[in-house]
Amino acid sequence: MYAGVDAGASATKVVIIDENENIISHAIVPSGINFKTSSNEALKRALEKPGLSRKDVLYVVSTGYGRELVDSHKVFSEITCISHGVHKLFPSVRTIIDVGGQDSKAIRVDEKGRVIDFVMNDKCAAGTGRFLEVMASILGKPIDELGVLHFKSLDPVKISSTCTVFAESEVISHVSKGCKVEDVIAGLHNAIAERIFSMSNRIGFEREIALTGGVAKNPGFVEALSKKIGFSLILPREPQIMCAFGAALLARKHFMERV
């Protein structure tokens, strides 16, 4: 067995694969403030499900913000891991957009899944999952409900600020003016989609285009982004673990090269 550990800014993901690169199990836990603890916990949970133990894992690759803090044999950036993961499942994909807790990225890959170019968001939180978390808490809605409420909106508001702090006051002002919560939510999804669209535009939108990362689980955002780009997006069944899956594939590859 091989493990990929993606110690992300908000969640730590672990994927276990077998010799044939099949996903055996996965686990997602909040990262908290200690990547070592959260990655051990995620690994434990992922191994528990199929009744495996740490000894069954031959090689571990870590990635994500806490990558250097995780017990692993080798470390790769998220860019490389995501590309490997997506290419394995969707070899026709040429553009990958990943929206995570603290950053978003767009990656261009070739027909072999190799990274040709990539861009990442600048250092502010706009255009990331964190932005939506902040807004959900202002609106008093659980983050999982945003996607559903989005589709109730008939008249999305316009959020013009890209700064999380300024957007926060914009949201408050819309709500206090009596705008419907669903219209504000749709407006927020449009704002992030806009932001990610401009960022990704530098490397272009060669098809097929896949969307990964935790925020891809929000159907409202997915709709806003695919509308903005003008193409439908390929969505893995569990978009949040693509990076950890890629890390697990790299773990297998490097273990094989070693022996």
């Binding site: 950036s77 998220e78 860019i79 490389t80 950053d103 250092k123």
Partner: protein, 408 residues
């Protein structure tokens, strides 16, 4: 990254820079103490003229870089911000204004005259005017028309700059009751030219594999050329440096033991984050070319000193057409066998950062050289997101590695 963290080698010459800078500031203070004038100049001012007038030039931009590198810039940045200067302004200007507003008791002696040329940076004139307003110090602003082809300057353009240099001489002579010494100008021009020649020669040797002079060296060793042009000390420094670099080439001794990727770096270095250069080197990547390192190297002709100095005022990189910049980039890619380009989009320096995308796209398309653009500030450490930048660097190195595997 699991690459072995080899020890990178910094030149012996580079280790002496700190001392050289302290000596230089001590000389400036000494000059002032003897009742002679000190000028605060922007870094593309022809200081050779000032040497011929016995005016000691110091450069607040360099002072800002030094404060940032030595980790005491916050004191001055906060002073400027306390007075209402926005964090969005250039960090060199904020550092300088903060210093000026807090008594100027540090290394850089207070100015007797402020001199700037409108030849590279957008902020210079307003920044120098603000200093004038705060300190009441006399101000000289020189103009430099935009240059399309430095080798083919129109006479009227050159005459215009020469005339201004003569004005500057006259103003200083009158103001401080000093006499311009033409022999001293010729001497300063010769020394300036020599320092440039030696430095350019050393930079050229970076085309060797392994590269003998790395990013840490070039980022530091540029200083004598920035602030000490026209001095014997600068020439001596570069003579020693060149000797050392030649020795390294002979011994095939590189900056790092296992050189895998040769990179171009575009921009001013992040002075508070020299360890970032080591971060690249630990991954087998070495910087072999930076347009910044050549920015002050200019060959002068001592037989036409004033005209030659005027040409230098005009030929500063940011005063020239973007095509010339692109051309330099393209040439360097072949000459130094560059595998990738790292472009630092500097929040402080819009003139430098604005054309980066165009430049990067051209080199990317002509030579298929991958590039990385990251954002931070040259001197303000608060604008630096270390984890995010390192994340991008890791991904970029993986792209380079993947490409080199494919080529093999």
């Amino acid at each position: 990254m699991s690459e072995r963290k080899g020890r990178s080698r910094v030149l012996q010459a580079t280790k002496k820079i700190g001392e050289l800078i302290l000596e230089y500031f001590a000389k400036a203070s000494d000059h002032k103490a003897r009742g002679k004038p000190v000028a605060w100049v922007t870094v593309f001012t022809p200081v050779e003229l000032l040497h011929a007038l016995s005016v000691f030039p110091v450069a607040p931009e360099h002072f800002g870089a030094m404060c940032s590198a030595r980790n005491f810039i916050m004191e001055y940045l906060e002073e400027a911000e306390k007075r209402g200067y926005s964090q969005n302004l250039c960090s060199y200007s904020r550092c300088c204004l903060g210093y000026a507003l807090s008594g100027m008791s540090g290394l850089m002696p207070p100015p007797d005259i402020l001199i700037t040329f409108r030849n590279s940076c957008d902020v210079y004139v307003k920044w120098w005017q603000s200093l004038q307003a705060h300190l009441g110090t006399p101000l000289f602003v020189g103009e430099a028309p935009y240059v399309l082809a430095p080798e083919d300057l129109e006479n009227y353009v050159l005459d215009y700059v020469v005339k201004q240099l003569m004005d500057l001489i006259e103003i200083v002579e009158e103001k401080f009751k000093l006499k311009f010494d033409e022999e001293k100008l010729v001497e300063a021009v010769k020394l300036s030219d020599k320092a440039s020649e030696l430095w350019l020669e050393a930079l050229k040797l970076r085309s060797n594999k392994p590269c003998p002079l790395g990013g840490r060296d070039s980022a530091s060793d540029i200083f004598p050329l920035v602030i000490m042009q026209g001095t014997v000390e600068a020439v001596q420094f570069y003579e020693e440096l060149l000797r050392e670099v030649r020795g390294k080439v002979e011994k095939r001794e590189g900056v790092i033991e296992n050189e895998k990727y040769r990179l171009l770096f575009d921009g001013i270095w992040l002075w508070y984050a020299f360890d970032l250069i080591k971060y690249f080197e630990d991954k087998g990547a070495v910087f072999v070319y930076e347009p910044y390192s050549e920015a002050w190297a200019y060959r002068l002709d001592a037989s036409k000193p004033l005209e030659s100095v005027a040409k230098k005022v005009l030929a500063m990189g940011l005063n020239m057409d973007i095509d010339l910049r692109v051309e330099k980039f393209l040439k360097s890619i072949k000459e130094f066998d560059i595998d990738g380009a790292v472009l630092f989009s500097n929040r402080s320096c819009k003139s430098w950062s604005a054309p980066q995308l165009v430049t990067a796209e051209i080199i990317g398309s002509k030579y298929d050289v991958p590039y990385l653009i990251f954002e931070a500030d040259m001197a303000d450490p608060r604008q630096y997101a270390e984890a995010q930048i390192k994340n991008r660097i890791d991904a970029f190195i993986e792209v380079l590695r993947e490409r080199s595997c494919t080529r093999e």
